[in-house]
Amino acid sequence: MYAFDFERPSTIAEAVAALQDEDAQALGGGQTLIPTLKQRLASPSKLVSLSGIAEMKGVSIEGGVLTIGGGATHAEVAADACAPLAALAANIGDPAVRNRGTIGGSLANNDPSADYPAAMLALGATIITNTREIAADDFFQGMFTTALEEGEIITSVRIDVPPGGANYQKFEQPASRFALVGVFVARTANGVRVGVTGASEDGAYRWSEAEEALNKEFREDALMDLRPNPAIMIEDLHGSREYRAHLVRVLTKRAVAAIG
């Protein structure tokens, strides 16, 4: 690691102020950022820890609306969120990662293989920052790229609990156990939404053909003739484009079957 200053403010306002310094960076659970620092791949002048900010904590469900603090850990989401999202969070990394890593950090990082982005797209989540509200559809802008401005903090996430149920199917990359492909299917008030992670060169995306088919008929068979396009897929040591495209379809089918 390179040397850096460290601050741990207790309000969002203080954190926003602390992040004004040149090359200051927010620190969530550190599960992505700390390994990056250890490898000397980043050199922030200052880390502003968000872990002491009470207003960014907690998970609550009221009147069908799920609110997750930007600083809520994966373990907290696993314990208190609605079932499909809780199950997703319970399967991120290992206990140490879940006890430190936060939803805000995961969304800000937008790793193309992370689990939450698929869920946010499928659930039509609203990502709330210190300055504005951003629809999930506008938030994710390609691998490791989001709508966040410099110094902007994800303070919470708001989700309408899908009335028709939801399910996440994750096929693990054998080494990292991130998603080789993950598919989140949700039956929301505004119809079926399908979020896909791990697969695409452009990061998490919605599989609109599948949504269309499933809106007509919410059955596995509705996907029978659909073939995701391999050309947009990631190809690496762990799977070819064709394999990933195949998995998108298999996992979508399985999620639909699980919702029933």
């Binding site: 390179y2 054998p174 080494a175 040591l237 762990h238 394999y243």
Partner: protein
């Protein structure tokens, strides 16, 4: 009733108390007053010419003590190779220099270019970033076939080519081998890859060099499986230091798996530098460094052919293997694909004609050397996969085909230079059939199919040559070291015993198992016996732990030393009891005169040895301490049969291991619990190889799997509960304990069982797949099914 003490009992491992409660003393726990830290600047390209290294800016950085480059080691020896292989034409292998820090060229990603010593580790890293290295990139040699092509770029400019050696074992007459194939009723051919692995012990390598100007003595603390071997190699070949002035300490070591056998440049560096700067120097590898500097394992590409007659008897076997050496010859690299691999090619079968050809190849990759099993997993995988394929082609039961060809008479001289002293392959297979419940497989397959899964059963045998090794034989074969071992049994005045052993325990449980033997021989409690290992200033000159040799070789030395102690103690007892020592019996820690009720206790005799007031001084010396060296008469030959049952998800290609049974013949067993644990760990690593692990370089020689994000290690939920049976026992005929060794069996025996099971599953689903290279990952299975 299981025994509760001594040989055959399973006391809990005493060393685990300190390991599990954080009281271990690992090399990184050792800090020497005033120590500085070294960081190695490593090449980030696979192959380049070094035009110049400018360290001036770095030297001016805060905390920097000194920076070394290859130029500082001109005239200093390089890292030696401990085994000279003679090729098929009688020529010595090509042996390139291996400098401590790169000279002239860098030859793999991770090759050390400069070493920065500073007051703190972070300062050393900061300064390393300020070093300017002027490199001219050269084409990287990665693929072995391309490396051998005419006009290929050479890894070492001074060698004639990238071929280290072209070696043949068994039938050297190509025409005779061809004739055997020409007259065969059936020939099965298989091309396969035994992929490169990274050993990944939990503890990365660490080395601390300390120099005492007052006494001119060096101390090296290092993560090693064999401190005396390191001292010998470093003193005699690398630094030219007098051995008596060098102490090498390998304290608690957090796993070795072979990769901590070898003498590494970092060890020689810290020893050299501590004197040069007159200050202790410490190096602790990061995990990323381990991935690019620990010797890696396996990496063979093989074509194997099996000839059978009309009655399905094996008549000939021919293999051609390319074995990757990496960029330099690591300590035992040259012996692994030859004498540890070719010699095992008979397997458990009486194949009369065998020819093994191995071409060892230099590439711009991390050096390859012994990794748990070392050569024997590669041999076993080929034989057991080709037999399975032959059985399928011939439509015969794979177990029956194996049984039909088993060696049944011992001793048995193989066509590939070994003499198996004993074994009972049918007996071991019988145990497996019961342990694995072959009879219930059909019902389990039906249940899997009802869930939409394919189920397969894979079986294989293995044999290994362990207890390495008779020094005279390995000397003839090119070893540049003896492979005996040594033990000193020091009885203290009050009767407790310290046993100083040349073997090194880094997970094997010697501190528990070795005392069981001595306790049994004397008839005292195990708690009175302590094992001392890992420090050249304390132990006799032993050769360390690898090749499942500790008990068979060092344990034999310990038995001999204990016998000498007992013989002397009997003389003292005879004196005290006023009897002839021939009449003295030792039982349960009491010496008695045969046929009388006269006796004297162990403690009285040991006290007399050190307080010799009433002592047969004219007959024996005071004290009670004996040393023995033991050089084995032959290798030992553990053998076994393994069975694996897998389920394959036909939609995704994912393989899950549902059952795994192992029947091993390890000869006599000292601590069955420890043996179970050794087998469990070995199978875990074998399953890791079969399903998950893969070290991959791209065409430019960049390591694609340099972290756990891409290098898949097996985890608890990747492996099933194992059924392990070691009740089939044919004791080794030539060592005093009748033991064979169990440390590598699991890793040797399990990969073919897994792959055979996957193929069986796919075939049961109507897929015409006869081989998938390891790791049998979901994407590879899916691709094979949809080819």
């Amino acid at each position: 009733m299981p025994k509760d003490h001594g040989i055959g009992a399973s006391p809990k491992r005493r060393e685990d108390v300190r390991f599990l409660t954080g009281a271990g003393n690992y090399t990184d726990d050792i800090n020497v007053n005033g120590q500085a830290y070294v960081h190695f600047l490593r090449s980030d390209v696979a192959h380049a010419k070094i035009n110049g290294i400018d360290t001036s800016a770095a030297e001016a950085m805060p905390g920097v003590v000194r920076i070394f480059t290859g130029a500082d080691f001109e005239g200093v020896g390089g890292m030696p190779c401990g085994w000279g292989v003679t090729d098929r034409h009688g020529e010595p292998m090509q042996e390139p220099p291996h400098p401590i820090l790169a000279q002239g060229k860098v030859r793999h990603v991770g090759d050390p270019i400069a070493a920065v010593i500073a007051d703190t580790y972070e300062q050393a890293r900061d300064a390393a970033e300020a070093i300017e290295v002027d490199l001219d990139d050269l084409p990287a040699v990665v693929d072995m076939k391309a490396a051998l092509a005419d006009g290929a770029t050479k890894v070492h400019d001074d060698l004639t080519s990238n071929l280290c050696y072209d070696w043949v074992l068994g039938e050297t007459d190509d025409a005779a081998v061809q004739a055997a194939f020409d007259s065969a009723a059936h020939v099965t051919t298989l091309e396969l890859v035994n992929q490169r692995l990274v050993a990944n012990p939990m503890e990365p390598r660490v080395a601390v060099g300390d120099y005492n100007r007052g006494t001119d003595e060096h101390t090296l603390y290092t993560t090693s499986q064999n401190p005396h071997v390191i001292r010998l190699l470093m003193c005699a070949f690398v630094l030219g230091l007098p051995e008596h002035k060098v102490r090498v300490v390998a304290p608690d070591v957090g796993g070795g798996f072979g990769t901590k056998i070898f003498h590494y440049a970092e060890e020689a560096f810290v020893t050299f530098a501590a004197k040069a700067i007159n200050r202790p120097v410490k190096w602790t590898a990061s995990r990323s460094e381990a991935f690019m500097s620990d010797a890696q394992g396996r990496d063979h590409v093989t074509r194997i052919e099996l000839a059978l007659d009309a009655s399905n008897n094996f008549t000939a076997l021919r293999t051609n293997t390319l074995a990757n050496m990496g960029a330099y010859l690591s300590t035992f690299s040259s012996s692994v694909p030859t004498w540890l691999h070719g010699t095992l090619m008979a397997g458990n079968y009486k194949t009369p004609t065998i020819q093994v050809n191995v071409k060892a190849v230099f590439t711009n990759t991390v050096p390859v050397d012994a990794y748990r099993g070392a050569g024997r997993p590669e041999a076993t995988f080929q034989i057991e996969r080709v037999i399975d394929k032959a059985a399928r082609e011939l439509g015969v039961d794979p177990v029956a085909l194996r049984r039909q060809n088993f060696i049944t008479e011992f001793p048995y001289d193989t066509p590939v230079a070994l003499t198996y002293d004993t074994g009972d392959y049918h007996g071991t297979m019988d145990k497996l059939e019961a342990a694995a419940d072959f009879a219930g497989f059909a019902a389990r397959r039906a249940a899997s199919e009802a869930k939409g899964k394919l189920r397969g059963l894979g079986v294989n045998c293995y044999i290994e040559a362990c207890g390495i090794a008779p020094s005279n034989i390995v000397g003839m074969l090119g070893a540049r070291a003896g492979l005996y071992d040594a033990a000193t049994v020091r009885v203290n005045a009050t009767g407790s015993i310290s046993v100083m052993v040349g073997a090194h325990s880094h997970g094997q449980g010697h501190e528990t198992a070795f005392p069981q033997v001595v306790a049994d021989m004397i008839g005292i409690d195990e708690s009175m016996i302590e094992i001392v290992h890992g420090d050249t200033s304390k132990i006799p000159f032993g050769m360390g732990t690898y090749g499942s040799r500790s008990l068979a070789v060092c344990g034999s030395a310990m038995v001999k030393a204990t016998e000498k102690v007992i013989a002397k103690a009997k003389k003292i007892a005879a004196h005290l009891l006023e009897a002839s020592d021939a009449d003295i019996e030792l039982k349960d820690g009491v010496f008695s005169v045969a046929g009388t009720d006269k006796s004297v206790a162990w403690g009285d005799v040991t006290l007399t040895a050190y307080v010799p007031h009433n002592f047969p001084l004219e007959e024996v010396e005071p004290g009670l301490e004996e040393t023995a060296f033991y050089d084995p008469a032959n290798f030992t030959f553990p053998a076994g049969a393994y069975a694996c049952e897998v389920e394959v998800d036909p939609e995704t290609g994912k393989v899950t291991i549902e059952r795994f049974a192992a029947a091993d013949d390890f000869g006599n067993i000292i601590n069955p619990m420890i043996v179970d644990g050794q087998v469990h760990g070995g199978i875990g690593q074998g399953i890791g190889q079969a399903l998950l692990e893969n070290c991959v370089y791209d065409a430019d020689g960049q390591l694609m799997t340099g972290s756990y994000m891409d290098y898949a290690m097996p985890r608890a939920d990747d492996v099933p509960f194992y059924t392990v049976d070691h009740s089939s026992q044919t004791p080794c005929t030539h060592n005093p304990l009748g033991v064979k060794g169990c440390g590598e069996a699991g890793a040797i025996g399990s990969p073919p069982a897994v792959v055979n099971a996957v193929i069986d599953a796919l075939q049961s689903g109507g897929k015409n797949v006869d081989h998938i290279d390891m790791p049998v990952s979901p994407s590879r299975v899916w691709s094979a099914m949809n080819a």
